[in-house]
Amino acid sequence: MEYGLDLEYSFNEFLKGFGLSSEIAHIIWLPIPMLLVLVAAVVGVLVTVWLERKISAAAQQRIGPEYAGALGVLQPIADGLKLLVKEDIIPAKADGILFTAGPILVLVPVILSWLIVPFGQNLLISNVGIGIFLWIALSSIQPIGLLMSGYASNNKYSLLGGLRAAAQSISYEIPLALSVLAIVLMTNSLSTVDIVNQQSGAGILSWNIWRQPVGFIVFWICALAECERLPFDLPEAEEELVAGYQTEYAGMKFALFYLGSYINLILSALLVSILYLGGWGFPVPVELIAKFLNLPINAPFIQVFTASIGIVMTVLKAYLLVFIAILLRWTTPRVRIDQLLDLGWKFLLPISLANLLITAGLKLAFPQFFGG
């Protein structure tokens, strides 16, 4: 299935028109999607922070940010600037190297995972063969950064927060990976593009959420736990641990944690929409609409239209999930650490295992519905 815009090809052809070799054209092309995705991620964070402030205000019958720009839309930028110009403090008894490396190790894997997020058939940085598995592998690096910053702070709250964070992400990684495995079983591929294409047959009816309802719920709970969002924000439980592993951090290093957690939230929402909600697919297949309007599917106008619809749909679905996550954060109480680990190991793990087994059985019984 090779259709849709191929911007890389057109761009390379365009540069070759100026007499550049294909290698140099490729090198000039390489940073462009990376920068674009990075900018998209940061803008996404700004939007999410604004949404978080406004929705929390609405949930608590306040007004929220109001004066920085219309409806306070510039408030996240003001927050960012404040963090940027704050003094960078390393506590005297802290371990300087590990203290600095911790936040970087938390942020980098999250940003690297954007490599595989597709906004359209060819609108992703790299359609690597291992696709979704890369994300699972990268997200397993994060606990090291959390442990590192918790240890380096030389503070009992930080150490406890770091240990809790690591325990939490280890225990929720397994059901997460198992529910992804059920999807991969249905798709016969690890690539995110293939996963979306497999759901594109009949619009909203062919989305994976109907075939994997249990997997969807397990994945969403685990994704929230991986992002350390309430009800699972134990690592930074204010009443117990001051701010967990972030206690000693200030200025830009704190901002890296902040950025990391929000980028991770958006990434998880995007991945839920890719794995279960049809990715860039419109609820009614675009091909059907084009056929209905008697338009050729390969016309440039239709191609651009399809691509923009794809981006809008991906972002819309992701932000719907972000909205649900924010609502959950401001309406649910926090669980206890033993409840959290019980939920992960004794409930989600067996359920996701059973889900995988049933999916495998259904795939054998009804290959036309569950991927042959």
């Binding site: 290698e23 140099i24 090198i27 590990l98 690597v128 063969g129 291992i130 598995f133 890369l134 699972i136 592998a137 990268l138 397993s140 690096i141 606990p143 090291i144 442990l147 590192m148 918790g150 240890y151 150490l159 770091g162 240990l163 690591a166 325990a167 280890i170 990684e173 690890l190 033993d338």
Partner: protein
């Protein structure tokens, strides 16, 4: 020399340097915490080498298993027991160091010998596997490597059952090593909130 090959050579030399220096640091550094974190760095660089060899699935598995599970577990254990106390000085430290160094050097020479005598280049068209490597690994696991695969999974299952038995000692009424009845009070922590006990 094309740009792609130059990039590969730069990546390879940086990764090998990180592996060598990191591995030396793991062994030679006094602080056990630094050693553990450096070990993670070494595992990551090895994954990078796999990536350079077009084995992306193996690289991701390396990150997931060695960095995400093994290394995190090591760091976890160190941090749970990390008391800042001075270790007792070992009396014959010098001779011990000499013995361990010589053993390591012997192993190294053995590995170098294997490296030099073995014929590494493959003549078959398997050189151009690239993105299909995941599928190839699956095919091999379920055909000619089926027995090792199944044996490994049985081993893991045994380890898992063992861990569950160790963690949930309430299913056993007797202590395995001493034969004495197990004090259930100590094992089953009350899951009720503390406040309800005061009424």
């Amino acid at each position: 020399m094309s740009i792609a090959i130059t990039t590969q050579i730069i990546c390879f030399s940086v990764l090998s340097l990180v592996i060598l220096i990191g591995a030396l640091g793991v062994v030679l550094l006094e602080s056990i915490v630094y050693s553990a974190f450096l070990l993670g760095g070494v595992f990551m660089s090895v994954a990078g080498l796999y990536l350079l060899l077009n084995a992306s699935f193996v690289a991701a598995a390396q990150v997931l298993v060695y960095v995400g599970a093994v290394n995190v577990l090591i760091i976890f254990a160190i941090m749970l027991v990390n008391k800042k106390e001075d270790l007792k000085p070992i009396s014959d430290i010098k001779s011990r160091r000499i013995i361990s160094t010589s053993i390591c050097l012997t192993l190294l020479s053995l590995l170098i010998r294997v490296d030099l005598t073995n014929v590494w280049s493959l003549s078959s068209p398997q050189n151009s596997i690239r993105e299909e490597s995941t599928i190839r690994i699956g095919e091999h696991l379920f055909s000619d490597y089926l027995l090792p695969f199944e044996v490994a999974s049985v081993l893991l299952l045994m380890a898992m059952i063992g861990a569950i038995v160790l963690a949930r000692r309430d299913v056993m009424s007797k202590d395995i090593s001493t034969g004495l009845p197990v004090d259930q009070e100590l094992i089953e922590k009350s899951s009720e909130p503390l406040l309800t006990n005061k009424n």
